[in-house]
Amino acid sequence: MSTRWTSSADAVVVGFGLTGAPVLERLLGASGAGDVAVLDRGAFWEPEGHAFPGERSLILDRPLTVDPREDHVLLRTPGAGPARLRKWWASRLAGGGSWLWYGQLSRFRPSDLRMRSAYGGALGPEVRDWPIDFAELDRAYAHIQGRLRPFGCAYGHTEAAYRDFDGGPYLERPGPSHLERLMVDRLGRDGLNAYVGQSCLGGRAWDTCPVSPVTGRPAERGRPMLARPNWYVDLYGTLREDPRVRLLGGCYVSRVLVDGGAVQGVEYLQRDDAGDLRTRRIRCGTVVLAPGALETNRILLSSDLPDRNGLLGRRFTFTLERTAYLVTAEPRERDLADRLAGLYGNVVIKDFYDLGETGPLRKGGKFALYDAYIAESPARHVRNLRMRGPELARFLRAERGHYVVKVSFKGESLPSAGKFVSLSARRNAFGARVPTVTYTPHPADLLLQERVTAILPRIGRALGAVETRVHPVPSGEDLVSAHHHGGAVFGDDAAQAVLDRDCECFEARGLFVADSSFMPTSGATNSSLTAMANAHRVAGVVAARLS
């Protein structure tokens, strides 16, 4: 039966979020893209009183355009039946149903791309090198950071070393604060290489962050994003005026249509005015998937790909997470710089694994330390503390007078045969099969968590903490992260990878993946900057193809 197309385009980009935005910027900066359709789950709308679409979605407890009850992901962990995978953030950047948004911008290191070379086969056959040189990523990092202009403060590093670690350029923000200076100095005396890191968009948890990170002036209520330098706002404005672009909101992509080893188009569902779902199909020879790794895996598994080597959905990982709260004896300062640092700053310990430790796995992760009392909105802070009753009341009283430092660990999670995405028999409200993430920790993940268990008290001692509360290693339903990677990894060999080095699908030419699904290994730090940098790199290939 012949396919009924409802429209056509030169290219379709799925997802206008972290990685869709750099793709569109580069695609439309080149010739050849005369007609680009952008499909997003959210709505490209302008709610009354709000100047940026999706702005309300940055506020927790407001409904997403696609209701989480209509669409969810299952998580299966050792010894437990499938449960719903919890969303880390119920937030969107520009209209979508995003699972994360960028707060801390941190570069991968060259060693993050060479795990196989470093360890041979000791970590299992699923662990493989990236097929590109770090220099290719480095160039893309520079471009993305130039666009995002994160807020930074080089305290703890020389300027040059800071740029080498986390890149540049960045906007100098006031600081270091009293607490940041104190933490960096004390950790340094204990031999832990700490510095003040970079962050972006401002407010890792105060989704309606009410002050500018530069001036400290309160932002207009209800328009938090406009108070900050924001590349997305500008880009959205540009795209909206560009006659080559069609921004299509409220679209649930069901599959990519493939025939004869080449992409033919995209099928998606959209509600009509009566609320009924309608199936639509755009005919096109180029599709770029950038909806996030979970969505990309679902779409690819639902598509017409032969998956000859059984690789789709495989090597899916989360970044390892761990949390501790340290109550210090240091009286809390009340000045503005301190509050702003709580919102926008974080002290980073990035290379603890290079401190002469021995063992089979010398890689590790990154600790971010910040003032939890300021950084987390009160309701979320209380949820995160995992305390109740009188114990909670006592803790909250203590932190009003003294600094409480949250230590958030992000670590390398290695791919293994026990980590993958598949489709369950269950159907969601769109008639699509619900994805299931099966997640069995790699032995090295557990080893790394053991080390973290030992390091967190060390950090507490270095900071003179009077109380150190280390949360247990996440398991079961708590095994959740905002950082999803893999499932459609890239490589040089079609027998070992879903995508080639340009992130074009081996089994469907013209189908590109620009989100974090491409990552063969997850790196030892936050991954959003790397995902965006690669999206910029991939978009260069797509733009050249269209030209």
Binding site: P210, V211, G342, P378, R383, R388, A393
Partner: protein
């Protein structure tokens, strides 16, 4: 209804732990009960638990009955969400946030 009474008892037990001013208890409890019902939280699982204060509730939270524990945890989370999402209630509980005065 027994389950509604049990829900109110559990809410009262959680609020009791925060040492709130007497005058705040009733309006806050009312707001929490509304939010709990909106979330579909019932406490049929807690109806027989006899919660009459924080110590009773703590026994449920630490106890072996998984359904009762899950219900109690959900109610605790709901109380905290209502209490700490509102600058007004934060003031009442003595937890003014530094950003409140800036926003």
């Amino acid at each position: 209804m027994a389950s509604d009474d049990a829900l109110a008892d559990v809410v009262a037990a959680v609020l009791d732990a925060y040492g709130l001013p007497e005058a705040s208890l009733e309006p806050l409890a009312g707001q929490v009960l509304t939010a709990a019902r909106e979330r579909g939280l019932g406490s049929a699982d807690l109806a027989g638990a006899g919660v009459r204060g924080w110590e009773d509730l703590r026994r449920v939270l630490d106890g072996p009955d998984e359904r009762a524990r899950a219900s109690a945890e959900s109610v605790c989370a709901c109380v905290n969400d209502v209490l700490f999402s509102s600058p007004r209630w934060r003031r009442e509980v003595g937890y003014e946030h530094p950003m409140d005065e800036l926003g």
